[in-house]
Symmetry: C2
Subunit: 374 residues, 2 copies
């Protein structure tokens, strides 16, 4: 496990304490670096042994970090001249992004200086950059973005993937998503034997596209060795249900579903808000219920579950929402910390290796696991 104690520049060394280091892109988000630093401070309060390498415009970042007592001695700043904007195309970033804060953020994970990277920048660029610099994990064809989805399950969340890494997925990809999602649910939600469902337009076996029918067979066959339960097809309405823990789908469908849910929550909240100011009795009612209204507003706040995770690379990258505020950034950093603490990426690699993809000869050679694409 990488830690600042191995690096002379790491300020944690002075304290003689082992820290978990998170590499953070200060520059990508819509709200600028001050919000990112505020988020780090929030997370640092909750996680005593966390430390940061923060990438971006040093002259801007230094005073922001200096203002936060809780970050003292726990936050190394690395200067980067450039910023990847939301408009930059991934190919541009690959060609010209070497001096960007995003590139530097990924590089710290590649060089094992930090455990996990966090950025709220351009998703497409972050995905392409992460894939090129960290390389795909042995046995993974398409990396995926997984996210938490508020659910009726006791643990409060389901895992959904892919929510936007790739617009296509064939049956082998969907099988890998099942394995990766299982590992993520096990390590982040603590579920020993996650229930996996395949997103489809109906629960009957004959429904859906050909690749989904093929994936259902592959996933069912992999369930015993993958140590998960396959519940078969699930529908959109099951995503927040307690029938399933991990929902597997292609990145186009997953991205649309995720954003549809966000839009729906927004609309319902707006209707509720309008209702509670519409009449005098309603306003009085809102006053009485104000504490509970606040709690339920928080429970349905997408910022509480901020952080998509890139799975299937040799290194973990957490993508925070571009518009995330300090609360959202802190949630993404908390997630990064939790994954680092569980040594998640090694466990994920072992899980993927346990079920060879169809057409492969067998177990991958451990000595070749340096990112060769299969």
């Amino acid at each position: 496990m990488a830690s600042l104690t191995e690096h002379p520049q790491g300020t944690a060394e002075a304290a003689g304490q082992k820290k978990i280091v998170i590499s953070v892109d200060a520059m990508g988000g819509d709200r600028g670096p001050a919000t990112v630093v505020a988020g780090l401070a929030k997370s640092a309060k909750r996680n005593p042994d966390i430390a940061f390498i923060l990438h971006g415009d040093k002259p801007k970042l230094e005073p922001l970090v200096a203002k936060r007592d809780v970050l003292r001695g726990r936050c190394e700043i690395r200067h980067a001249d450039d910023v990847v904007s939301m408009e930059d195309k991934p190919a541009q970033v690959l060609r010209n992004g070497k001096n960007s804060s995003m590139w530097s953020t990924i590089e710290a994970v590649r060089e094992h200086e930090a455990e996990v990277a966090v950025s709220c920048g351009n998703t497409g660029a972050l995905m392409v950059l992460s894939t090129m610099r960290l390389r795909k994990m042995e046995g993974v064809n398409r990396p995926a973005i997984a996210c938490y989805w508020p659910s009726r399950n006791k643990h409060g969340f389901n895992v959904m993937l892919d929510v936007g890494a790739d617009v296509r997925a064939d049956e082998s990809d969907l099988l890998q998503y099942a394995l990766m999602g299982t590992s993520y649910a096990r390590n982040s939600l603590g579920l020993a034997r996650p229930r996996v469902g395949l997103l489809n337009v109906g629960t009957e076996e004959h429904k859906g596209r050909p690749e989904i029918k093929a994936a259902a067979e592959l996933i069912a066959a992999a369930a015993p060795v993958g140590e998960f339960e396959f519940v078969g097809n699930v529908e959109g309405s099951d995503i927040p249900s307690d029938k399933v823990d991990v929902i597997v789908t292609d990145g186009f469908t997953g991205n649309v579903a995720l954003k549809t849910a966000e839009g729906t929550v927004g609309l319902v909240k707006r209707i509720f808000k309008e209702a509670f100011v519409a009449t005098l009795p309603a306003r009085i009612g809102a006053l009485f219920a104000s504490r509970q209204i606040k709690i339920m507003t928080q429970r349905t706040d997408p910022r509480q579950v901020n952080g998509g995770v890139f799975l299937g690379l040799n290194g973990t990258v957490v993508k925070s929402h571009g518009a995330a505020d300090a609360t959202g950034i802190a949630a993404a950093v908390d997630l990064a910390y939790a994954l680092a603490e569980h040594d998640f990426n090694h466990k994920l690699a072992a899980r993927v290796a346990s079920v060879p993809a169809p057409g492969h000869d067998g177990q991958p050679d451990a000595s070749e696991q340096n990112g060769s694409n299969t």
Copy 2:
């Protein structure tokens, strides 16, 4: 326009009044024929010139209809021995379904005895049966199911299609969906120049799958003659927004999005419900705000917008939700009535014919256009 006055068996003849006749499958729904008849009664109260041909088990239906004064003289019952179950595969129904209430329901539209068909049975079977018996409209390759989607627009709803007729759609299909959705929005929501958006994983032009990029070009080119505005790519979060009136997507993605939204509304409502019984002040608050809570519960009730419409056939079919209660059935019947009143299907055919699909020879013969103000 078909009406019971043309048919001696039509009981409306006695009243000497022109009626709009809706063909209704009494047997398909999860809650049985009593719920369907209750729904007809609700709709009949609101629509004085509506009449029904009701298909199903006559001995069961007769006493149910007799109990409802409002249906007296407006509801012909046609006996059908068989019922299409939710488990029946479409191919089975095509082979063996001739004596089913669903078949008989479609047949009444095919024979021009009724304007529009309504069923809450098996969607797959209804789609296949409708396509085989009514046939695809000239120029349409894949029929689509359109639904209303609660939105921030002044008129309260957006139109989304396809939400589940077909799991695939190429660029020509997506173009036809744009034309059909436009016509549906114009005739059912009264929008002169609907704004059409193409569902994608981002709003940038370079995003998404190849067929979506191709569709964007076709739809943009068709906008002037189709008399709609093309707003380009939209994301899942835009579906309930006021940026767009008609959202075009393939039936797999559309179905997942629709069911995801249903599941999300269910989860948010549950969280709200729990909040309002959690503490004494909250319960008091709920009491004060009870009238507004009731209104907002209704506004977010999917039953209020029940009724997917099959577009692209020689005849209109409204698919009600399988689990619909009397309120839901009545909403679907109201929609069927509104479409019949606007002579919608002729207008839709003219609209589709106005933009030849790529690869077609050219403009259709104008003499075949039965309703130019589409």
